[in-house]
Symmetry: none
Subunit: 125 residues, 4 copies
């Protein structure tokens, strides 16, 4: 279910967090859907249980998942509108793209493509 790249500079727990959120955005995971237990996911992926636990803690902190007595960990309802600093964090990469010679149109196309791939990947979900 999750793809972890141990060669990446992105921490493993962070990769997990990102992939759970991506799955929610793609509709592969819906509110109420259960996530595997920490031990289960650790065993399946070979990731250190502490690392999985840290990812779950972070996801719970971000209110992406919620632990329900007896049911385990499930996807939380998606909030209507959250404050996020994601926009600020993109600035260095947009700077990078400009520096690499991309025009405004090319950059917007890149972003648009990323959006479409995220929202379009679940035709078969």
């Amino acid at each position: 279910m999750f793809n972890i790249d141990i060669r990446s500079t992105v921490p493993i727990y962070e990769q997990l967090v990102q992939q759970v959120k991506r799955s929610v955005v793609q509709g592969l995971l819906k509110p109420g859907d259960a996530l595997p237990s920490v031990r289960r996911l650790a065993a399946d992926t070979g990731i250190n249980p502490n690392t999985v636990a840290k990812a779950y803690r972070e996801l719970e902190h971000q209110k992406v998942i919620i632990t329900i007595r007896g049911k385990g960990t499930v996807i939380n309802d998606i909030p209507t509108q959250i404050d996020t600093d994601a926009a600020d964090k993109m600035r260095p990469y947009i700077t990078e793209l400009i520096y690499a010679g991309k025009t405004k149109e090319e950059i917007l196309t890149i972003v648009s493509d990323i959006y479409d791939k995220l929202k379009g990947d679940n035709k078969d979900a």
Copy 2:
């Protein structure tokens, strides 16, 4: 000239790298323009000279700046087209924005605004 936030999780040297590149993109720094010496910038910002040197080394690796014997450090010519993985790195943040309830149009507007602020800050560029 440069704004360092010591409390940020982004390493100081990385903040410096990003800000130099941003200044180039904004046209505030042009090819051939001199950067302050390592010691000078360290003194001005209160950052340790080793940390400044690390930022300069990284910028030189990325060919953003070039060290000229006896003259110090200057902005390099901007390359025509570089390979960059910046697009890939934006995906998590776009996911984040979708998760936060933004529509495709809103996201494209955000990116467009970031672009305009980067390129528009310098009337006489």
Copy 3:
């Protein structure tokens, strides 16, 4: 494993970089092989950990090694073909050899011998 000459004018970190690359070329280190940890190598050689780290960083920049989360540092896959300015850098030494009275044949023999020693040191490569 590595021979460092503190009295050399070649920086210690550079000696380390060269020796790792030489070992890869000789087949003594193969893609996937683990390098000792920074601290380990520092302790073994008596070199400061920062200096070892600097060598590793440089090797990573050159994509000779790759750091894998939790696993440490391993030799990267060898690229098919890289751009290198090594040829240009040899010119002064060839000039030197000509100046020292060597004929073209003698110089080619010297280079050939260096090559053979590099590639031949490892019978089971």
Copy 4:
């Protein structure tokens, strides 16, 4: 007469040393030929006189040039055979070329070409 690249990582005095030796090897400068005075060369090239002086000192130390009372600095007789560690210094670059995917034949061709260019450039000398 001399080409100095202030953007190179090779020290300026070292570039001067190399170019004088190259000129000798190419036959552009012959034993007994006079070199410009330190001040003269410094004025012509814009190089710091201290730097030119350092290059001359180094060339004199290597017995490439010799200062003759009244005549100034001239090219020395070329020695029959000198000991040189140039071969050792080439090893890192040959390693580099192997690493970059070059075969033994390709490397020998590169060296042969460098040799030919050095010895062939003076058709019009």
